[in-house]
């Protein structure tokens, strides 16, 4: 396998941490079914429940934890099983929320990508993400939670891009995905403040999620959650460097003045389409993306940038750069040099 010389697509997925890998390999050895009543099954069950307690401790979460196959399933579970109907979703949600939208109201965002908390005073389930996957913009979730709760509603927060990087918001239901913070793909969780918020489905996970538990995945996810977060201080500095370099080279930083998760930046290169940029960067061994990985194959106009009021042509010139643990200054500088050269030829 050829190694990409520069991977700046950590928001799509980020490498498995060594501790998570170790935990996963150990988990492969504890392969009994946690629902089996024999000693081997009980040992697996004990590890699973210990892991659940460690998730709560690592996230300072006092509610319940339902393990799922990832954030998409966690979001589908929350929306499909909440005792309140879905009342509203923000216009900048990930497709995993938007596609469940149905008749729910769409909450507009301003040009900075922010939802107005007062719009969220609804008596149903309101879904607003923590950090946007394309721009990194952080929603004022604690103010939104207050507005939702005062109106008698419940707040569902897609925290796929925030968990492992930011403190949890004051939400009632929280979706997370391990492979966004150094755990494996194929495992995630729905955090539930109170079981009474959901209708049970039967099966495992206290009757809220059927299917044999993926214990190796759970153990690896916990190890990743407990990992040191020191790299985030470095990410702030690196993203500042990236922002400044893009501006100096004649580019535009999307939502540059808004509070953003430090791992994500979105940048516009006037005069050159995102598709052309991606192909050129890929040819140089630099992995970046246009919007989210799942939809980037199609290279549609980003619904996020559109919701922020961006002109479609300008929106079509925006790429996402996302930073991970091993990203360093040399990598950022290499990207900026490539970006600058491409811009000069645009």
């Amino acid at each position: 396998m050829t190694r990409p010389s520069l991977y700046l697509d950590h928001a799509a997925t980020t490498p498995l941490l060594p501790a998570a890998r170790e935990a996963m390999l150990e988990g492969f050895a504890v392969w009994a079914n946690p629902s089996s009543p024999h000693a081997a099954g009980r040992a697996a069950r004990a590890l699973l429940e210990e892991a659940r307690a460690r998730v709560k401790a690592a996230l300072s979460w006092e509610g319940e934890v339902v393990f799922t196959s990832g954030a998409s399933e966690a979001l589908a579970l929350a929306i499909g099983r909440c005792r309140l109907p879905l009342a509203a979703v923000s216009a900048v949600e990930h497709e995993a929320v938007l596609r469940h939208g149905g008749d729910a109201q769409q909450l507009a965002v301003d040009s900075c990508g922010l939802v107005a908390p007062e719009d969220c005073a609804l008596a149903g389930l309101v879904a607003v993400q923590q950090a946007n996957n394309e721009t990194g913009v952080l929603q004022p979730l604690n103010a939104i939670a207050t507005a939702v709760h005062e109106a008698g509603g419940l707040l569902l927060a897609d925290c796929a891009q925030g968990v492992g990087k930011l403190a949890l918001p004051e939400a009632d239901l929280i979706a997370l995905s391990a492979h966004k913070f150094g755990g494996p793909i194929g495992i995630g969780a729905l955090l539930v403040r109170d079981w009474a918020m959901l209708h049970p489905t039967g099966g495992q996970e206290r009757g809220y999620r059927g299917g044999t538990e993926n214990l190796p995945g759970v153990l690896a996810m916990v190890a990743a959650l407990e990992a040191d977060r020191g790299w985030l201080d470095r990410a702030v500095v690196l993203r500042d460097r990236l922002d400044a370099g893009i501006v100096a080279a004649g580019g535009e930083v999307i939502a540059g003045e808004t509070a953003r998760v430090p791992s994500i930046g979105a940048y516009r290169m006037p005069g050159r389409s995102a598709r052309a940029q991606l192909i050129a960067f890929d040819g140089q061994g630099i992995a970046v993306s246009a919007g989210s990985a799942c939809s980037s194959g199609s290279l549609r106009t980003s619904h996020v940038l559109e919701a922020m009021g961006m002109d479609p042509k300008a929106a079509g010139e925006v790429i996402r750069v996302s930073i991970g643990r091993e990203t360093d200054e040399a990598g950022i500088d290499r990207f900026l040099a490539a970006w600058g050269e491409m811009k000069a030829r645009a």
Partner: protein, 357 residues
């Protein structure tokens, strides 16, 4: 520990584990990209997923596609709920993942009875206006092999879809023919937990349950794990290659175990059966005591999913056993990695412990 619970889960094949490792690598490799990313590492990951998909597809009939899911439970939910069919029928001995989902979708669903041997009557009356019939290939509690080909034919003739839960049969028996939808799980065929698949016959329309990035032809959103796919693929390939060898090994274990447990009566047909499943009863046997006497032997008192509940097995009840008989039944599950010495030791000790009660 002697592990005789291969219906609940199976150990990961070393070959499957090996296939997963490159995709569990760190930043100094390219074994971590999102397979839905269009850049080079993403394309490498996507290629690994497609290779795995082809290997899993080889276990299943031609003329359909493999949709990866988090496991069989999700695959079955997708099949049943995604079909949109309203009038449903199931056998009385389906796994809870089918029974509960079908009852949720159609509280008035028809339940096809089974005989004393644990076999669904292939000619059982099907309700009018049937939309979907679900019958498993191999029962998880008693191992009986159902007449799914005939049932599929009859479902087809009545305009209904036929869903086959092939979790216990996949990789062990030939794929059920004539089904429209087939659910399989990797961890029951020596692959990893957290992945399964739904096979969908070409032309069968389903609506997704998990929406989002539109992966898997929009049928199942969520980032696919190249590691889990690769492990599943190699496990499937291995199962296919070793099918005859594994079956011969299991047959030998079955014969040895039966000979060592003379006081026990077999639950379910001996002939129409996957012989890795030995479900036996003995009058008056106290299972809780037996399990506590034999703590280092892992066996089951029913299906793993329900066995924590203390409820008598719906399968054993459906084949006509009294609650008392059901409660004195045990399930011994053999697999590829079960050694003859383990079976001999376990059965000798089970017989002795039962005699001592």
């Amino acid at each position: 520990m002697i592990y005789l619970d291969n219906q609940a889960t199976t150990p990961l094949a070393p070959e499957a584990r090996e296939a997963m490792l490159p995709w569990l690598a760190g930043p100094d490799s390219s074994g971590f990209a999102n397979p839905h990313s269009p850049h080079r590492p993403g394309r490498l990951a996507a290629a690994a997923v497609e290779i795995a998909r082809a290997k899993v597809a080889a276990l299943l009939p031609p003329g359909g596609r493999v949709v990866f899911t988090s496991g069989a439970t999700e695959a079955l939910n997708l099949a049943i709920l995604g079909s949109g069919r309203k009038r449903l029928a199931v056998s009385a001995i389906e796994h809870a993942a089918v029974l509960e989902t079908v009852q949720f979708a159609d509280p008035g669903c028809a339940i096809l009875p089974v005989d004393r041997d644990g076999l669904v009557d292939a000619e059982a009356e099907l309700p009018d206006g049937l939309g979907l019939l679900a019958v498993m290939q191999v029962n998880n509690e008693i191992g009986t092999v159902q007449p799914v080909e005939r049932l599929a034919e009859r479902a087809w003739a009545s305009g209904a879809l036929f869903l086959c839960d092939a979790v216990q049969g996949a990789g062990k028996l030939a794929a059920p023919e004539g089904a429209d939808l087939i659910a399989v799980s990797a961890h029951k065929l020596y692959g990893p937990k957290g992945i399964g698949a739904l096979w969908v016959r070409d032309g069968v329309e389903l609506a997704p349950l998990v929406h989002g990035g539109g992966q898997e032809g929009s049928l199942r959103s969520g980032t696919l794990s190249p590691a889990l796919c690769a492990g599943f693929g190699v496990a499937a390939e291995l199962a296919l290659r070793r099918m005859a060898e594994d079956a011969a090994h299991i047959e030998a274990l079955w014969q040895a175990a039966l000979a060592l447990l003379p006081g026990f009566v077999l639950n379910g047909s001996a002939d129409q059966r996957w012989r890795g499943n030995l479900n036996l009863r003995r009058d008056g046997l106290d299972i809780a005591r037996l399990m506590s006497d034999l703590r280092d032997i892992a066996f089951s008192a029913g299906s793993a999913c329900a066995s924590g509940s203390g409820k008598p097995s719906h399968v054993l009840r459906a084949i006509g056993l009294s609650d008392k008989e059901a409660r004195s039944s045990i399930r011994l599950g053999f697999g590829r990695y079960t050694r003859m010495t383990e079976v001999v030791e376990a059965c000798t000790r089970i017989a002795a412990a039962a005699d001592a009660q």
